[in-house]
């Protein structure tokens, strides 16, 4: 792939976000970094991660819908490109604060499937030994410091982590991942303000999936672009096609390098779509059928697969092998989790109090 001119790799009819959202967007193919700008190993890694994220989501969805798996889940299906790009751009010691819609982010940052599924299904092998649940998965060993269940709660925590890195003289970067709805909360604005003021090593990664729970962005904000909010804090704001992993790698790299060099935070708006609604089982009656159809057509995993094959970067057989490996990994992890013991009642105050003896009953 390296050195191959890539002008022909994007199908001319590739759906852009303009068609998907009705918003003017960043999806002009002429502005997009092309596939040849990526090392072949990076392109392959992006596809591996995106496929694993999709497969893990598909398996959960299938299991929940048949009654095999009893858990609650906020699907990330459709947002894989953002998390994969983050995954290939961050170092293992960089840190992440994500949300309840975090399966893709967790996989991107390197959390194991057993830890993730174990937590969702209440098993001792879960990341928080099964007592946190889907909304509260943390894995500090790989830099995932927190998943929050409250919209907008993550950015201030990420500011604290970034402040710690700065004060300790570490060159690690913190990413706060959140949705469009979070940018309407006071906590987001306070966090953005302080991060900019103190030039903190932070990337504010907004996964704008066009709906805050069930409310479309145009009903909750006057501005069209979340990225425009950055100007109010004196930080760069960049809007990028959140379904294009190549453009995302370029944008995330720039934001991470800026943060790591001590030049402060960036607000990165990645425009995407949730293909399975707010929560698993969401009938999605509030989403216009034509919008959902366009979003399905713009599925980032399938788009990237076609792009890799179309450019000659990978063969369909290469990608089939990656797909099969993802299915095997997911099934193996699920089998391990289902064979693991449920979380014991004795876990209930573990890691809650340093010394529970003097705490009120």
């Amino acid at each position: 792939m390296a050195g191959t001119p890539n002008d022909s790799t994007d199908p001319p009819d590739q759906p852009g976000l303009t068609g998907l959202t009705g918003l003017t967007g960043s999806s002009d193919p002429d502005d997009r970094d092309d596939l040849a700008s990526l090392a072949p190993a990076t392109a392959r890694r992006l596809y591996e991660l995106m496929t694993l994220m999709k497969t893990a989501d598909d398996r959960l969805s299938r299991g929940i819908s048949s009654g095999e798996l009893l858990t609650v889940y906020w699907p990330s299906r459709g947002q894989e490109a953002i998390a994969a790009a983050m995954g290939v751009c961050l170092r293992s010691d960089d840190q992440l604060v994500t949300t309840y819609r975090g399966l893709h982010d967790l996989i991107g940052k390197g959390v194991g499937l057993v830890e993730i599924y174990g937590e969702m299904l209440g098993r001792q092998v879960g990341a928080s030994r099964g007592k946190g649940g889907t909304m509260h998965i943390a894995s500090p060993g790989v830099g995932v410091m927190l998943s929050t269940g409250i919209v907008g709660a993550g950015p201030p925590v990420a500011v604290g982590l970034a402040m710690a890195a700065q004060r300790l003289g570490l060159d690690r970067v913190v990413v706060a991942s959140f949705g469009d709805g979070a940018t309407n909360t006071g906590s987001f604005h306070e966090a953005a303000n302080m991060a900019a003021l103190w030039d903190l090593p932070l990337v504010l990664l907004c996964q704008n999936n066009l709906y805050a729970e069930m409310t479309p962005t145009e009903h909750t904000m006057k501005i069209e672009h979340v990225a425009d909010r950055a100007a109010g804090y004196g930080m760069p704001g960049t809007r990028v096609d959140g379904n294009d992993p190549v453009a995302l790698v370029s944008a995330v790299t720039e934001a991470v390098e800026r943060a790591r060099a001590g030049r402060g935070p960036t607000l990165l708006e990645c425009v995407t779509f949730r293909l399975r609604g707010h929560y698993f089982g969401d009938p999605m009656a509030y989403i216009p059928a034509e919008q959902l159809a366009a979003a399905t057509e713009a599925d980032p995993v399938l788009r990237f697969r076609a792009r890799l094959v179309g450019s000659g970067a990978c063969t369909a057989g290469d990608l089939d092998t990656i797909d099969a490996a993802a299915v095997a990994s997911v099934e193996e992890a699920l089998a391990t989790v289902l064979a693991a013991p449920p979380t014991a009642l004795t876990e209930i105050d573990h890691d809650v109090y340093a010394d529970a003896r003097n705490c009120p009953a």
Binding site: R62, G63, I64, S65, S66, G67, E68, L70, T71, V72, Y279, F280, G281, D282, P283
Partner: protein, 80 residues
């Protein structure tokens, strides 16, 4: 391959029970994973549930009964 236990699924976040409103495969009939198997109703929304396994269906649940989420209503017995 082990039998697949058919349970009332948690098809939505804020539900604790569901009514079994239809069985789409007769007792003793074969089913293939992914085929429609039964219908439940929650909050006035009906959901068609797909088979999670392949084999012969044995129902223990009955139409018109309200079940807790996770309650067993049958099995898909693996064949062969």
């Amino acid at each position: 391959m082990a039998d697949f236990v058919v349970r009332i699924p948690r098809v939505s976040v804020a539900i604790s029970e569901a009514e079994l409103v239809d069985l789409l495969v007769a007792d003793g009939a074969p089913v293939t994973e992914g085929e429609p198997l039964f219908v439940i109703a929650t909050d006035k929304v009906e959901s068609e549930i797909l088979a999670g396994g392949t084999g012969v269906v044995r129902w223990s649940g009955s139409i018109g009964t309200v079940y807790e989420i996770g309650e067993e209503i049958g099995k898909i017995e693996a064949t062969g």
